[in-house]
Structures are given as C-alpha cells and as structure tokens.
C-alpha cells in the first residue's frame, strides 16, 4: 500500500481474516459475537494511534507526529500483508493436511480390504486343502481296510490249508489203523471159528452115537406107545366133541345177546361178558361214600373261562324231526 493512499480497513480486514459461517461458529461453541463496522474500526485504530502517539510522543511536533502515524500505518500494512501471507500459507498447509489425511484414510481402507482379502483367500485355500486331504485320507483308509481284509483272508486260507494237510495225515493214519484192526479182528474170528468148528464136530459125533442108542430104545417104546395112543385118541375125540358143543352154545348166546341189544350195546368188544362172569358193580352206599367227601379247595372261588363255539340248534332241530321229538334216542342208547 502506498503512503499516499488512505488505509483501507475493509480490505485489510478481509485480507487478514477468515470467513466462517454461523453454523461453524455454533459448532465451536460460539453463539454470540460482537459486530464492528468499518467506521468503528477506523475510529479505534485512530484512537489507538493517537493515544500511543500522545503518550509516547508528547515532545514530538505535529509533523513528526504525522510522520510517525504514517510510518505506523506503513508498518501496519506491512504486518497485515505478512499476516495475510502467513494465513494463505496456513490455509494451503491445512488443505495439504486434509488431502494427506484423506489419502491416509484411503490407504488404510485399502490396507484393510487387502488384509481381509488375504485372510479370506488363505481361509479358502485352507478349506480346500483340508477337503482334498480328507478325501485322500478316506481313500487311504479304504485301501487299508481292503488290504487288511486281503491279508486276513490269506492268513486264514494258509491256516486252513495247514489244518487240512495235518488232518489229512491224521485221517490217513486213522484209516491205516482201522484197516489193521479189521484185519486182526478177522484173524481172531477165523481162529475162533476154526476152533469152534473142531469142538462142534466132536460134539456132533458124540451126539450122533447117542442118537443111535436112543433111536434103538425108542423104536421099542414106540410100539408100546402106539397101542396106548389109539386108546387116548378115542378118549380125546370124545372130549373134543363135548367141548365143541359147549363153544357153539356160547357163540349162539353171544349172537342172541348182540341181536337183542339192537346192535348197540353188544356192538362193542370182542371181550363181552360171558355167562357166569362176575362183573364188579359198586353198591350205592360205596358210590355215595366215594363222592360225598368235601375237600378243601380254592377251585370254587375261581371262574372257569367259557368260550363260545357256534350253535347246535340246527343239529337239535334235525334230530327232533328225525326222531319225532320223543325220547327214542335215550331208549335206543339204553338198549
């Protein structure tokens, strides 16, 4: 600013101040502000300079005083300009700082995203690897199981073959021993048979000679017996004819009895009662004594379960129709 021009307060204030909205001030907690206009500020500056000059420069002339005031004003302008430059620089630095902060934030976000991605990728790789390993482990297990089964089968087969070989050898031994025993038994039997044969031959010869003696004795006795036989034959034929008569009589009795029974009572048995046979029939007193005794029992208090099984009305009706509804059946039974 040149010395000739008056001090532009408005411009100086605009240059050395920063703008701020009311909301921003309110955010900062400033709700009430003092307002100065250009005229008031000019006055305040003039008053301040006058006071300083008057107090500090009482001995100065008016011209000196004016020069001082001008120098002060120049100094003030210079300070204002310097302030404005500083302020511009500060604003620039603030902008740079904000930009840097935003960059930093971006970079942090990117870093975060990158880390997350890396984690997910690693996790996925781990899971995939695990699944693959699991499959391989299963395959290995199956192979192991089948190999074990094969080994077991082979071992069993070997044991079986070994056992069969041993048992075949034992069976062969047993067969050989059996054959030997059979052969020895036959030897013994043959020897025994031959011994017995010789004994029997001797006995036979003895018996034959005895027979000869007896036959001679018997021939003489036979003649005597023949005579007595003829006698006995006559007696026996007499006895048989009498016995036959008796049997015939009994048979005819049976027939008559069977016929009289209507084929019913006599229809049974080949062992029917014969005339003169004794049949055991208990007396009434005996029967009553047998059935009259009362025994201690819990049977009377028990209910015997009944089950139903059809009807017999049809049979009864037919029977009644056939027999005329009378007691003919009973009479037939009793006969």
């Amino acid at each position: 600013m040149s010395e000739s021009q008056p001090f532009d307060v408005r411009r100086a204030i605009e240059q050395s101040s920063s703008k701020s909205t009311l909301q921003e001030l309110a955010k900062k907690g400033i709700h009430r502000v003092k307002v100065l206009d250009e005229q008031m500020i000019n006055k305040l500056i003039g008053d301040a300079v006058e006071r300083i000059i008057s107090t500090k420069t009482n001995l100065l002339s008016t011209d000196d005083r004016q020069k001082l005031i001008q120098a002060s004003r120049a100094e003030l302008d210079r300070l204002m300009k310097e302030h404005k430059d500083n302020k511009d620089k500060a604003e620039l630095m603030e902008k740079d700082k904000s930009a840097l902060a935003a960059d930093v934030e971006n970079l942090q976000e990117q870093l975060k995203t990158t880390r997350k991605l890396a984690d997910d990728t690693a996790k996925q790789r781990y899971e995939d690897g695990k699944a693959i390993m699991k499959g391989e482990v299963e395959d290995l297990r199956k192979k192991l199981t089948s190999v074990e089964a094969d080994v077991e089968k082979r071992v069993r087969r070997e044991i079986e073959l070994e056992f069969q070989a041993k048992s075949a050898a034992s069976v062969a031994q047993i067969d050989a021993m059996k054959q030997e025993m059979g052969r020895r038994e036959q030897d013994i039997l043959a020897r025994g048979a031959s011994m017995k044969e010789a004994e029997l031959r001797t006995k036979l010869d003895e018996m034959q000679s005895k027979n000869m003696e007896l036959s001679e004795k018997h021939s003489s006795q036979l003649e005597e017996l023949k005579k007595s036989d003829d006698k006995m034959l006559a007696t026996l034929s007499e006895l048989f004819s009498k016995a036959l008569e008796g049997v015939n009589k009994k048979l005819s009795d049976l027939k008559l009895r069977a016929l009289a029974g209507g084929g019913g009572g006599g229809g049974g048995g080949g062992m029917s009662r014969m005339e003169g046979d004794i049949e055991f029939r208990p007396s009434q007193a005996t029967l009553e004594s047998l059935v009259s005794s009362e025994l201690e029992s819990n049977l009377k208090s028990m209910q015997v379960e009944a089950k139903t099984a059809g009807k017999v009305a049809n049979a009864l009706d037919r029977l009644k129709a056939m027999r005329g509804g009378s007691g003919d059946a009973k009479k037939e039974e009793k006969k």
């Binding site: 027939k255 069977a258 016929l259 209507g262 084929g263 019913g264 006599g266 229809g267 049974g268 048995g269 080949g270 062992m271 029917s272 049949e279 055991f280 029939r281 208990p282 029967l287 009553e288 047998l290 059935v291 009259s292 005794s293 025994l295 201690e296 029992s297 819990n298 049977l299 009377k300 208090s301 028990m302 015997v304 379960e305 009944a306 089950k307 139903t308 099984a309 059809g310 009807k311 017999v312 009305a313 049809n314 049979a315 009864l316 037919r318 029977l319 009644k320 056939m322 027999r323 509804g325 009378s326 007691g327 059946a329 009973k330 037939e332 039974e333």
Partner: protein
C-alpha cells in the same frame, strides 16, 4: 331267546369239556385238563397258589394242583402228572382221585340251572383189544353227577361225534373220537348207533413211546405234540419220533376198525357212500387226515366211503354232541 337246558360233558382221559347253551343260543364250552400234581402242603403255598389264581385241593395230608396249571408245573419241574383216568376209564391206580375229579367236573359244569337238569356225559365203547369194563366207570360218573345236582345220562363217545358233525348227512356215517386213552368208533344210521367199540391205543400211547425213545417225561412229549407237529414234514428228532408213532397208531387203529367191521354181524348196509369224521385232540396233529387217507388207500374197507374229514371243531365235538343229546332229552321231558 329261551334257553334250551341240558348240558353235555366230555369225560376224556386227558381233557374234560363241559358244554351248555346260553341265552343267545350259542354253545359255551369250558375245558379243563384232567390231571393233577402233588405239591408241598403248607399255608404259604396255599396263599401263593390262590394269589396266582392256581387251583388246588387238599386231600388228607396231601395237596394237589389241578388242571392246566398242573400240566404246566409238571413240565417246569420235569415231573410226571397224575391222571384220574387211564385208557378212557377211571384209573384203578388212582381210586383216591374220584373226589378230585368231582371237583374238576363241578368247576366246569357249575350249578344246575334248573332242578335235575339233564347232563349227558360221554363213555367209551367196549374196547376190542383189552378187557376193561365200562360199567364201573359209568356207575361212578352217574354218582358224581347226581351229587352235583344233575340228572345223569350217558352217550357213547363216537355217537356224540355223529350228533355234532353229521347233522347235514341225516346223522348217517362213522364218527371216530381220537382221545388221549382211546379211539372211539361209532357207525350210525339215521342217528341210531349201529355199531360201536373202542381201541385202547391213542394219544397217551404215542406220548409214552416217544418219551421212552427220547428219554423224556410223557408230559414233555405231550407238550411237544400239542405245540403242533406236521406228521408228513417233521422238523427235528422229537417230531420225527412223534410222526413215526402216529403212523403206527393210525395203521393199527384203521386196520382194527376195518377188521371189526368185516366181522360184525349187525352192520347196516348203506345204499350211499358215507362220511367218516375224525375228532378229538389226537386227530389235531398236522396232516393227520392225509395219513389216514394213505392208509385207507391200501385197505379193503367193507363200507363205501365218500369222504374222510376232520370235524369242524375237533376238540369240542364230543361235548357238543353230548349237549345235543341232553337238549333232546330235556325237550322230550317237557313235551
């Protein structure tokens, strides 16, 4: 619906079966095994048996478990059961068992529904291969049923089978009851028994022989048999033995029956071929009828046969037939 009174009782060597008709006209059946076994006599045993619903009876100083529980206990303890009956009749070795039998019969028959309700019980025909007498057996059971409040009457076992199974054929044919002690055969013509008899070889004979051969108790052999055996395709050693003795049993009985028919003088002559019906526990073995048919093929049977079959209810046919006879008798009394 009016109840038709009268009861039927199958008095078998192995099983007792009572039959009566209920208000719906259905036949109600109550079976009970005809066996008992000795157990220690003390208060603890009595309480335990009562708690477990096991029937027992105290006779003098002895205590017996009765019925199906006795059979099970015998198999568990590997003991023999005691049988009040043998070969179809009251056992001479078990005279003391008559009161026990009375209890068993009383438990399945119950009280008479009306005074002197008629009860028909089955009796075997006279055996052709032994000299057992049925008269004593009949007298005893008459006394037992009278003491229970019934009016007793009897029916031949084979005849009862014809009542139960030959209604559709005018009660004409042959009924064979294959019980534990006997085969009971009856030839019936229009509901009248023309010929009846029994053979003393049946289920018990098979059990005894199988037990001897296998070295087990007869009760165990009976248990194996009752579990179900296919006589044509036995599965093991035990079933093989049962099949062999069954074949022998069938051959013996069918041959004897054929011979008896041939020698009988009072056989009716049938204009049409007839049916032969088999019933009884012994006939319930698998393929029993097939084996019978095999034997028939090689036999000259004196009666023309159109059909050989199993009863619709082989286990209960005798009881049902006896029930029909009792109802017929009751209806004739009220008529």
């Amino acid at each position: 619906m009016t109840i038709r009174y009268g009861k039927g009782l199958d008095v078998g060597t192995v099983n007792l079966v009572a039959a009566e008709e209920n208000e719906k006209g259905e036949v109600e059946l109550r079976p009970k095994r005809n066996v008992f076994i000795d157990v220690p006599i003390d208060a603890y045993t009595k309480n335990m048996l009562t708690r477990l619903n096991v029937p027992y009876v105290v006779q003098g100083k002895k205590m017996y478990v009765l019925g199906d529980h006795a059979f099970e206990l015998a198999n568990v303890l590997n003991k023999n059961t005691r049988r009040p009956m043998a070969d179809g009749l009251i056992s001479p070795k078990e005279q003391d068992a008559l009161p026990v039998m009375k209890l068993l019969i009383g438990s399945i028959l119950g009280q008479p529904r009306i005074p002197n309700e008629v009860c028909f019980y089955s009796v075997p025909g006279d055996p052709i291969d032994s000299d057992l007498s049925v008269a004593y057996h009949r007298d005893l059971f008459d006394a037992v049923l009278r003491s229970l409040g019934y009016k007793p009457s009897h029916i031949i076992e084979g005849h009862a089978v014809t009542f139960a199974e030959l209604a559709e054929e005018d009660f004409t044919g042959i009924g064979i009851s294959c019980g534990g002690g006997m085969f009971n055969i009856c030839v019936a013509y229009k509901s009248m028994p023309a010929l009846f008899f029994s053979t003393a070889r049946s289920g018990d004979w098979v059990d005894k022989n199988v037990a001897n051969v296998l070295g087990i108790k007869p009760a165990k052999a009976a248990l194996i048999k009752e579990k179900g055996v296919d006589l044509i395709k036995p599965k093991n050693r035990e079933e093989d033995a049962i099949a062999i003795y069954y074949r022998n049993l069938i051959q013996y009985n069918i041959t004897n029956i054929a011979e008896r028919f041939k020698s009988a003088e009072n056989m009716p002559s049938f204009a049409e071929p007839i049916s032969i019906v088999f019933s009884g526990g012994t006939s319930m073995a698998g393929n029993f009828i097939s084996l019978v048919k095999d034997v028939f093929k090689n036999l000259d049977f004196p009666i023309p046969v159109k059909d050989i079959r199993m009863a619709k209810d082989p286990f209960n046919a005798t009881a049902k037939g006896a029930l029909v006879a009792a109802q017929l008798e009751m209806s004739s009394q009220t008529a």
